[in-house]
């Protein structure tokens, strides 16, 4: 699970990048981050029951002038695949995604391995540029770069928090 320090670092980076709307579907690896976000007045937090719903909300907030992020487990990119394709490839409305990397090399749960098998191929298929963060000190620059690159390219970007940071 991610440390409180790293969760705080992520929230500070989001604030520095002027992210105002945080959408998430919680999971265990980033649990401290979700808990802290629910009590942090810097962000409008929207919880969702489905990652596809979540990326749509993030897109709507962005085009309304509020930078946004969708935070989820990496299995969510499969669930949200159709919406990401429609919103990104058809409309070029950018969505910034943060994901916990389940199934990263060294995964200890049998059911988590499949998330790792599919995540990068799905991101490649959707042409979503991403950075896997394996050191805590890279979290902030990765988040800042993903926000910038999304708006420059008018396309989705992703930051994936690797096992070394979330285990």
């Amino acid at each position: 699970m991610i440390s409180m320090e790293d969760a705080n670092q992520i929230m500070d980076a989001l604030e520095e990048a002027h992210v105002k709307v945080v959408v998430f579907l919680p999971e265990s690896r980033l649990k401290p981050l979700y808990s802290m976000l629910l009590n942090d007045s810097r962000f409008e937090v929207i919880t969702v029951p489905n990652e596809s719903t979540g990326v749509c909300i993030a897109a709507g907030a962005w085009i309304g002038g509020k930078r946004s992020v969708m935070i989820m487990e990496n299995s969510g990119v499969r669930v949200a695949c159709e919406a990401l394709a429609r919103i990104g490839l058809e409309r070029q409305i950018p969505i910034f995604i943060m994901m916990a990397y389940r199934g990263d090399f060294g995964e200890e749960n049998w059911w988590g391995v499949n998330h790792g098998i599919t995540m990068e191929p799905v991101l490649h298929a959707l042409r979503i540029p991403y950075q896997v963060v394996r050191h805590s000190e890279d979290l902030k620059p990765a988040i800042h770069n993903a926000v910038l690159h999304a708006e420059t390219s008018m396309y989705h970007t992703a930051v994936i928090v690797g096992r070394s940071v979330i285990s």
Binding site: K20, S52, T53, A61, I63, K66, R86
Partner: protein
């Protein structure tokens, strides 16, 4: 009821600063003819409108957002009902244009969605926590529902049961593709809200 006739009735009751998120197919051309405006964001897909409208309504809580969704689209993203019911954005009205069919192109015979059976989207929305839900089946009921929703400052979820008939008049096609339409909408938001959403160079 004919959908285009309903849309014209709705258009006649609007204030003029509402924002619209709309689905796909002939519904888009019908709305374009009933109410031509750069304030309409055409999403061109099923299952993405309601979520996008929730995000837009969250970002701009002082603006009225109207979502033109369909039965097929709502059924593809039922997760949005839970978000609607829990958040109840007061500046959002969701119209579900429900022809009980996967058909917006006036073809025959239209293939059924689940709402042609036992599924009742208004009751599902109510069960999810949306307070103001209704299903309308006549022009009189439609007019009354629109007037009530526009006068209120509450989330409304209105299922409009209409047939699959074509408009009685010839309509022109919306020519903008998704990207062009997106930019039209985006630049209108920037201008009307005094925002820079997509500046020449991205800045942190």
């Amino acid at each position: 009821m004919n959908r285009y006739e309903c849309m014209k009735r709705l258009a006649g009751k609007l204030k003029g600063d509402e924002l619209f998120v709309i689905s796909l197919g002939k519904m888009v051309d019908e709305w374009e003819n009933a109410y031509p405006t750069v304030r309409s964001l055409n999403m061109g897909a099923l299952g993405v409108e309601c979520g996008t409208a929730i995000g837009l309504a969250t970002a701009l809580p002082h603006r009225r957002v109207i979502c033109h969704d369909s039965d097929g689209s709502q059924l593809l993203d039922l997760g949005c009902l839970a978000v609607l019911g829990n958040r109840r954005p007061k500046n959002l009205i969701v119209f579900v244009w429900d022809n009980e069919s996967y058909d917006s192109l006036y073809t025959n015979p239209p293939l059924p969605t689940e709402t042609r059976g036992n599924v009742d989207l208004a009751k599902m929305a109510a069960g999810a926590g949306v307070q103001y839900t209704m299903t309308v089946r006549t022009y009189e009921e439609f007019d009354a529902a629109v007037e009530e929703a526009l006068a209120a400052n509450e989330l409304y979820y209105i299922v409009v049961k209409h047939d699959t008939s074509a408009p009685a008049e010839q309509l022109h096609r919306r020519v903008q593709d998704g990207v062009e339409g997106k930019y039209q909408f985006l630049r209108y938001i920037e201008e009307s809200e005094g925002l820079q959403i997509k500046p020449p160079c991205a800045v942190l």
